[in-house]
């Protein structure tokens, strides 16, 4: 059963960490409308994470697990999100001031992840776990919009000015190798598929690759190769970036445990 709980945490952590990253644009969006769009996106993802953490807490029946405990009192090796989702909004190891955030990276990442999650949530609507199926039904609608939003920006920026094209291409060149992690086998996913409650993401690989290839072609971008080191975030072995994300996200809850509004 731990395998299946880990699978739920994997889904929840993916949503929470990407939400935290997207929320970094709050107040810093390139234009007001995009500021709100990213805030909406982050709040959808936080909603998904909350439902999944609550579900894990209920399944555990240990009387002490809660969504807050799972989100704010676990450390880097406990998080099972894809490494892709914890990366800063830039294409290389550069100085990290807020002004260095590249909206192209944000959009490329949201596109790559949403294109996968549209498939995953769609399939999970038929999960044998009724609670997960209900969460999937809600999340599926949200992520369809996230995909549309990111997809349109990939087109606009890829097929935009010389500068926007260059930066969009750099974003995909940088991020694509991280998507290899989607397709690596893990015990938690295997366990979840076995129970009938989870889905095998590798079944969606062909369709995901087709979506990415079609979109990049329409955006006049070259499809970068996804080779090289395969990241291991979902196994709890993360990049150096996750620690900073968690420090910012968890510090308040840790300074004031059990604080309420």
């Amino acid at each position: 059963m731990a395998g299946y709980q880990d699978y739920l945490l994997h889904l929840a952590d993916n949503a929470l960490i990407l939400a935290q990253r997207n929320a970094e644009w709050c107040g810093h969006g390139p234009i007001l409308e995009e500021d709100l769009a990213l805030g909406n996106n982050a709040l959808d993802l936080i909603g998904q994470a909350r439902m999944l953490y609550q579900h894990v807490a209920t399944v555990r029946k240990d009387g002490k697990s809660s969504e807050d405990l799972l989100a704010f009192f676990r450390d880097v090796p406990d998080f099972k999100n894809y490494t892709l989702l914890e990366l800063p909004h830039r294409t290389a190891i550069l100085p990290t001031s807020a002004g260095d955030r590249d909206y192209g990276v944000t959009m490329a990442r949201n596109f790559l992840f949403s294109a996968l999650m549209v498939q995953v949530w769609g399939a999970l609507e038929k999960s044998s776990d009724a609670q997960l199926a209900a969460i999937a039904a809600k999340s599926h609608k949200e992520v369809q919009y996230h995909l549309r939003h990111a997809h349109d920006w990939v087109l606009r920026l890829g097929d935009g000015t010389e500068e926007s094209h260059r930066r969009m291409q750099a974003a995909f060149d940088y991020l694509m190798p991280f998507t290899q992690e989607f397709w690596t086998e893990s015990a938690m996913e295997t366990a979840a598929v076995k129970t009938g409650a989870g889905v095998d993401v590798r079944a969606f690989r062909a369709e995901w690759e087709a979506t990415v290839a079609d979109t990049l072609q329409a955006a006049t971008l070259k499809l970068p190769s996804s080779v090289g080191f395969v990241t291991t975030g979902k196994f709890g072995v993360h990049s150096e970036h996750l620690g900073f994300v968690l420090a910012e996200m968890q510090s308040l809850a840790r300074a004031h445990p059990e604080a309420v509004w």
């Binding site: 390139p30 234009i31 409308e33 709100l36 769009a37 909406n40 919009y145 939003h149 349109d152 606009r156």
Partner: protein, 99 residues
């Protein structure tokens, strides 16, 4: 792209939101966007975050012909003394309800 170039390069759109099936679309604001689909998406993110709507229209602002403020007197003043155009001199039966 900075906000100022975006505002300069992107045309202005007027946004109309229908709050419920059967009601009319109401003007709720305007925004800058590069094309109609873009404007629609931005309108969704800006104007329907609190479940304000079930349908959105966007219209290029330049497609709207507006009356000039200085024509206000000539256009609207003549209607001011024609109160007989308001059907307030009739007793409306209760069962008719709101008119």
């Amino acid at each position: 792209m900075t906000a100022t170039t975006a505002l300069k390069d992107w045309p202005l759109w007027e946004v109309f939101v229908r709050s419920k099936q059967g009601l009319e679309h109401k003007h709720c604001g305007s925004l800058h966007a590069s094309d109609a689909q873009h404007a629609l998406q931005m309108a969704r993110d800006v104007y329907t975050r609190r479940q304000e709507g079930v349908s959105i229209w966007v219209v290029p602002s330049k497609a709207i012909t507006a009356s000039a403020p200085e024509d206000k007197d000539a256009m609207f003043e003549p209607a001011a003394d024609k109160i007989y155009r308001h059907p307030t001199f009739y007793d409306i039966p209760e069962e008719v309800g709101h008119m």
